[in-house]
């Protein structure tokens, strides 16, 4: 039970019910759609990045499980106002934290998204947690579609 509590913490349940920045962004200059063909989850991430490389706004739309929705919601909160390089660093750190056998990144460096680090214990659910992050990464790289397969 302790693991499950670690996974479905109140923060996650709360973000799932009231996802932040859950909206279409008319004037986005970066955008990508992420799909997880295994479960049919689909998220669109919108970003507005200025000339200084600062993420001015970020939002998402779509449907998914509590893990993918809360991860996306927390991600949008974290990235607003950050530099693109910092967004990429967080993506790499989070990805490593949930996929590597012995992750180097410490939880503190992950900030708020650390609440989702418990997904490590559920290999079948890791892709749910990383879907929005992969999509954000693809949007920054100029790719419009990304699939977790």
């Amino acid at each position: 039970m302790s693991d499950l509590r670690a996974l479905y913490q109140e923060v996650i349940a709360e973000h799932n019910k009231n996802p932040r920045n859950f909206r279409w962004m008319e004037d986005a200059n970066r955008m990508a759609v992420g799909v997880n063909p295994l479960c049919g989850d689909k998220l669109t991430v919108y970003m507005k990045v200025d000339e200084q490389g600062i993420v001015r706004d970020v939002s998402f739309e779509g449907s998914g499980c509590a893990i993918s929705v809360s991860s996306a919601s927390i991600m949008t909160q974290m990235l607003k106002g950050k530099k693109v390089e910092e967004a990429e660093r967080l993506f790499n750190a989070f990805h490593e934290a949930v996929t590597k056998d012995d992750p180097q990144s410490d939880l503190e460096a992950l900030g708020k998204i650390a609440v989702l680090a418990g997904v490590r214990a559920y290999p079948s659910r890791v892709k749910c947690a990383t879907l929005s992050w992969h999509t954000m990464h693809a949007a920054l790289e100029g790719e419009e579609w990304v699939s977790t397969e």
């Binding site: 039970m1 295994l38 479960c39």
Partner: protein, 424 residues
């Protein structure tokens, strides 16, 4: 010397149980059911994906590996003859089980998927041409869609799809309208794995035959739940997998009417399936050997035969009655849950309960109930068109087998309450 279970007789030494269906003594036959999962007793409700194995199956396979294992149909030595006899006895056991006229109508394959691919490829190549039509239904498993799409793309034939209604039943008027004299084959599922719907196969076979079309039935979910008699159904092909029938994985059955099999070209080339090979040409063996190229799964059919003995000893009618009771009990109990929507409410249904809990994603349900020891399936169940029809990305599915109990359904319902607790 053969395995003491002796697949040829049903009056075996397994006949030790009293006539009444005692699910608790039956559970004792399945070693894995004593396992714990996440510290809780395992509640295995994913039988439509695959079923657990009784000791009788494990022992028959173990015995064969220890005492009767060699390659089949090849050696002149005693051990090979013993293995060949076990393999061929298993074929006869399957023939009797599904009411086929002749053991040569039973082809051992890898599973339902391979059986359907075999027919689409071999029967399809010789009998289905540009302008011809293949008729399937909207409730098919991907394994009864994709092989026909491949054939369509190779031949220029048309693939038509008969729709289902809101309860998850085939719309018979539409089926009848789509069936015509260009239809070469009708391929449909006997029992839907995503909805539980039992299709009126016998009537469909009559309608198809009246139009001159052949019929392939995907029986993967039917064979574990009810008595199947292929001659009574009248179908031309019938496919099923051992692993859903309490037998081992990696083996399955294609039944085909002999004159059809005999007119079909090989599916794969290799050893075993030929009579004579020169570099100019090869003469193919008769069915079923023609379709069993290479060294087959030798011990798999032995395990399947033991599984057939096991379910026949319990009685398929008893199993069906037990599972119907579980389905009724679960359907009533889940109706009380807030936000519950059952997907698939056909009048004739096998023990499959596919559902949606409003506002909660099936994957979250699957993970949370797993913590309570309850194994459910969450996903599209390899039936994406069914998900599209009901406008859901996925469903959660509980599927009941011969060893499940009402207490397990209570545990399942309690675990769904837990889901609400965790996710609100």
């Amino acid at each position: 010397m053969n395995y003491p279970g002796d697949f040829m007789s049903t009056a075996s030494e397994y006949l030790h149980r009293s006539k009444a269906y005692d699910v608790y003594s039956i559970r004792a036959d399945f070693p894995i059911l004593a396992e714990r999962s996440n510290g809780k007793p395992l509640v295995y409700l994913d039988n439509a994906a695959t079923s657990q194995k009784p000791r009788a199956v494990l022992e028959a396979m173990d015995w064969t590996y220890r005492h009767a294992y060699a390659n089949v149909h090849r050696g002149v030595h005693t051990l090979s003859e013993r293995a060949t006899k076990a393999y061929e006895d298993a074929r006869t056991r399957v023939q009797r089980f599904i009411g086929a006229a002749d053991p040569r109508e039973i082809v051992f394959v890898r599973g339902t998927t391979e059986a359907i691919n075999l027919v689409a490829s071999s029967f399809g190549r010789t009998n289905i041409h540009s302008g011809d039509e293949i008729l399937i239904t909207e409730m098919e498993h991907h394994s009864n869609i994709v092989p026909w799409q491949l054939l369509r793309d190779q031949t220029g034939a048309k693939l038509r799809v008969a729709p289902i209604n809101e309860t998850g039943e085939l719309v018979m008027e539409e089926f009848e309208r789509l069936l015509n004299e260009r239809t070469r084959i009708v391929a449909l599922v006997h029992v839907s794995n995503a909805l539980g719907t039992i299709n009126p196969v016998k009537r469909i076979v009559e309608m198809a035959h009246a139009m001159g079309a052949k019929v392939l039935v995907d029986g993967a979910q039917a064979v574990p739940h009810m008595r199947v008699d292929v001659q009574d159904l009248g179908c031309d092909f019938y496919a099923f997998s051992s692993h859903k029938l309490y037998g081992p994985s990696g083996v399955g059955v294609l039944y085909g009417r002999y004159e059809l099999l005999d007119a079909m070209p090989p599916y794969q080339g290799g050893g075993e399936m030929i009579r004579r090979v020169t570099f100019e040409r090869s003469d193919y063996a008769k069915p079923p050997t023609r379709f069993e190229a290479g060294t087959p799964n030798i011990v798999g059919p032995v395990g399947l035969a033991a599984a057939i003995n096991y379910v026949e000893e319990l009685g398929l009618d008893n199993i069906a009655a037990h599972e119907d009771d579980l389905l009724r009990y679960a359907t009533e109990a889940t109706a009380e849950l807030p936000g519950m929507r059952i997907i698939g409410n056909a009048a004739r249904k096998a023990s499959i309960l596919s559902f949606e809990l409003e506002g909660i994603h099936p994957h979250d349900i699957g993970t949370i109930v797993d913590h309570e020891g309850v194994a459910l399936r969450a996903g599209h169940h390899c039936a994406m068109p069914v998900m599209d029809h009901f406008k859901v990305p996925a469903t959660t599915r509980a599927s009941f087998g011969l060893y499940n109990t009402r207490e397990e359904i209570d545990a399942f319902i309690a675990s769904l309450h837990k889901v609400r607790e965790v996710l609100g």
